[in-house]
């Protein structure tokens, strides 16, 4: 399957979605995004981190150091209250946009 390019601005929403399913470290976020998008969405590994730092600065994510299953130290990210709110809003916004786009693109000449 071809991997799709991310639209600008969607990375943040994807990260919020990934983290909303449970606390994750950075690499875990990448894996989770691959898993929930059936590997259709590709995130450049290094580009993930500036986005994570930005979300922390905006108070949407909270970062804490912890230990993973294989005993490696890692920084885990989870949603804050503000993050959960933003995630809900952006999801709704995205859904509206997607439906509108789909409808628009599906229009046939006889419907006009």
């Amino acid at each position: 399957m071809d991997q799709a390019q991310l639209l600008p601005g969607t990375l943040d929403l994807l990260i919020l979605k990934a983290v909303s399913l449970g606390p994750l470290h950075g690499y875990g976020v990448l894996l989770r995004i691959g898993q929930i998008s059936d590997s259709a969405l590709l995130v450049e590994q290094g580009a993930l981190y500036p986005a994570l730092f930005r979300l922390v600065r905006q108070g949407l994510l909270k970062a804490t150091w912890g230990v993973s299953d294989n005993n490696r130290r890692a920084k885990f990210y989870e949603l804050t209250a503000a993050g959960r709110k933003r995630f809900r809003e952006e999801t709704e916004g995205w859904n509206r946009l997607a439906i509108a786009m789909t409808t628009a693109l599906a229009a046939r000449p006889e419907e006009i």
Partner: protein, 885 residues
Amino acid sequence: MNFPAYLRSLAAKFLHRSEVAKDMEEELRSHIQYRADDLERSGLDRAQAERQARIEFGARERFKEECHQSMGGHFFETLVQDVRFAVRILRRSPGFTFAAVVTLALAIGANAVVFGIMDGLLLRPLNVPQWETLWGTMYNTSPGWQSYPNYVDLRNRNHSFEDLAAFKFAFTGMDTGKDLVVANGFATSGNYFDVLRMQPYLGHVFHASDEHGPNSAPYIVLTYAYWHSRFHDDRSVIGRVVQLNKHPFTIIGVTPPGFQGTLLFISPDFFMPIVNQAQVDGEDFLNARGSDHGVFEVIGHLKPGVTAAQAVADMNAVGAYLEKTYPKEFAHQNSALAHEGLTSFTGPATAFVGGLMLLSGLILLAACANLGSLFAAHAADRSREVALRLALGSSRNRILRQLLTEAVLISLAGGALGLLGSVMLLRRLSTWQPFDGAPVHLPVSPDARLYLVALALALVSGFLFGIVPVRQVLKANPYEIVKAGSAGRRLGRRITVREMLLVLQIAICAVLVTSSLVAVRGLMRSLHSNFGFDPQNTMLVSANLTMAGYSIDRVPAMQKRMIEAMETIPGVEHAGLVNDYPPLVYTAGSKANVFKDEIADLRLSNVTAMPYRYNISPGYFAAAGTALLTGRSFTWHDDKSAPAVAVVNRDFAGKMFGSVSGAIGKYYKLQDGTRVQVVGVVEDGKYAVITEEQQPAMFLPCLQSPLSQAYIVVRSHRDPQQLAAAMRSKLRELDSGLPVDTKTWSTLLAVVLFPSRMATASLGVMGMLGAMLSITGIFGMAAFSVSKRTREFGIRVALGAQRTEVLQAALGRALKLLAIGSATGLFLGVLATRVLASIVYQATPRDPIVLAGVVFAMALLGLLATWIPAQRALSVDPMMLLREE
């Protein structure tokens, strides 16, 4: 944006730099480890897996940098960088930095001081509760004196004020049993503290209910400051009895700290009920409707909902009623309301502070122009560096930002320095007592508002002079500059921004120099104008017999003995006495109504003249040095049993009788109907203030209307200060309980000259600041143009140019600008000094000495400022220069 999170992010970034870096590094490493784990599971060996993971991850340093930026605060980071760079640049040119910081410190300091004075005098209200609704009533725009019965009528008949309080001054000798010292207080109506809504700090205050007729309330309330300085915070003073002018008063309370009465300039030592004023004044004003000595000011809070205009109409109605009821004693003038505090000084103080603000604003503008041209020169010096940075890909924005950072850095340093100086100066001013013995002070104290103003001034001026080189930088073509080298920029013939700034600055400085010279000349002239008496070698001995407990019938005999005692002192030429105050002392002078002899109906609308009235003893004119034009002076026989006589001044004689010679032997009438015969005419003089128009004056024999408060004028051959001790001991011999005060007349003139002196001193300082600014401005310009053209001079010298030709080339332009600027400034200065005339007596710009002085001063400044650059231009060695290039 979530603000706390943002702050946490910034704090982490700036406060824990290394931790954040380590944290970031570790996070990225752990990411690569995880990836390597996965790759290893897919079959690679560990080393290969890790290598593969690192490659997949990409440019680690770049992502770290991006993470760093994501944390926010990029603005601050740039700022920190700019500030560091600016500090480095400024340290590299310490001369420039020093000149710029000092210039700004002077300019901002001057403005901060002026603001502090304005804040203290005009912006800050009295330290009383709800000052917004507290008003002072004024008649005919001056708060002035009024009579006590009229105050009582106004208080009882008006419908606009919650209540009205009145106060006047009480000059007393306060005897605590241990010592006798002169203490000055307010004699106030009983309701004074209730009207002001003032609670005592200690004990209690008196109320309207304590007033039961004359001398019924022998209580005093001390101010906190006086309680602190005289009674050393002794809480047991409450209930103690002190003697005021030999009458017992009980201390009942202390007012709160910070309360200094209801006048800004004058802080009383104590408050006493006005119903007891006769004990202190020696004269009863409570029933004297015709006397203006009863009350100094009337104050009160307006009732809620009553506007100032309604209150004024109400006061005018009461005034009209009083005039109709008491036509002989009261002529109503239009009333007005003013916020309490400065009262009659509001006008002059506003004019003075306004003038100062204008001048200090000009100073700041001149300083900005100065620094602007310095900065432009500085930026031109660095054109090569700027060009290189542009060529290397720096944005113009970034470079401008950096230049502005430099400017603001300098202005902040200058502002801080200026503020420091001004705070010190203001602290000194607030404790300064300009007049020895008088409770006068300037209510200035530096506070947060002053700091804010200084900061704002610093920032504004930083941006003002910082933007001057902006056009230069924006227009800079890096390719041309780098190719041509720094010396390649031609100085064009056309007028540059820099030169315009210089002209502006010199013009402003010339205005300041003109103003200060005009002020100094005015002051000198007013010091040497004819006062109608000669203050040189004259001592004023004040002897208030009320303070020593004399009743009025014993006063004349005692005064005569005192005068005779003075005359026995070796070195004393003449001695004479004047009641109340001599001319030009404490701006005090009382006026009386006089009528032509033929007028029978002595109502106030028929008044012929209102001369100053002095009650004098025989020998006064000789002692004061007042010339008798015709007729005779008084003798000791002009007493109560003799016919009423008067000596008048030339102005009086002219107004009343048409001529000096025609006045002798003629009669006129006083308010009480007494016919007075003129026996002599003396020269005109100044009476209350130096700036007054020529006023009429009359002198009556003190034996015919005795007063216990008097000054003995003692004229001597030599410095009267040396005789002061002898005078005091002579008076002690007469009565050891007499509080005696000796001051020379010249010293006391200082009070009436104070506004002029202050204005002159401030203008002098401003003028000097202006002169210094123009020196640095011209110097900067000349030095810059010489340093840019040394090569050209070298060639000129090599080709055989004479010294004068080199000098002309080097400095001709600077001097031309100086001439243009000075001429403009002189012209503007002459216009501006019309304003000065209102503050400084006899300030006229149409004075050849002033004009010549300004031209000379500016020429001298030009010479001073161009001296060093001229030397540099002349010392150019063509061989050295040509070889170097």
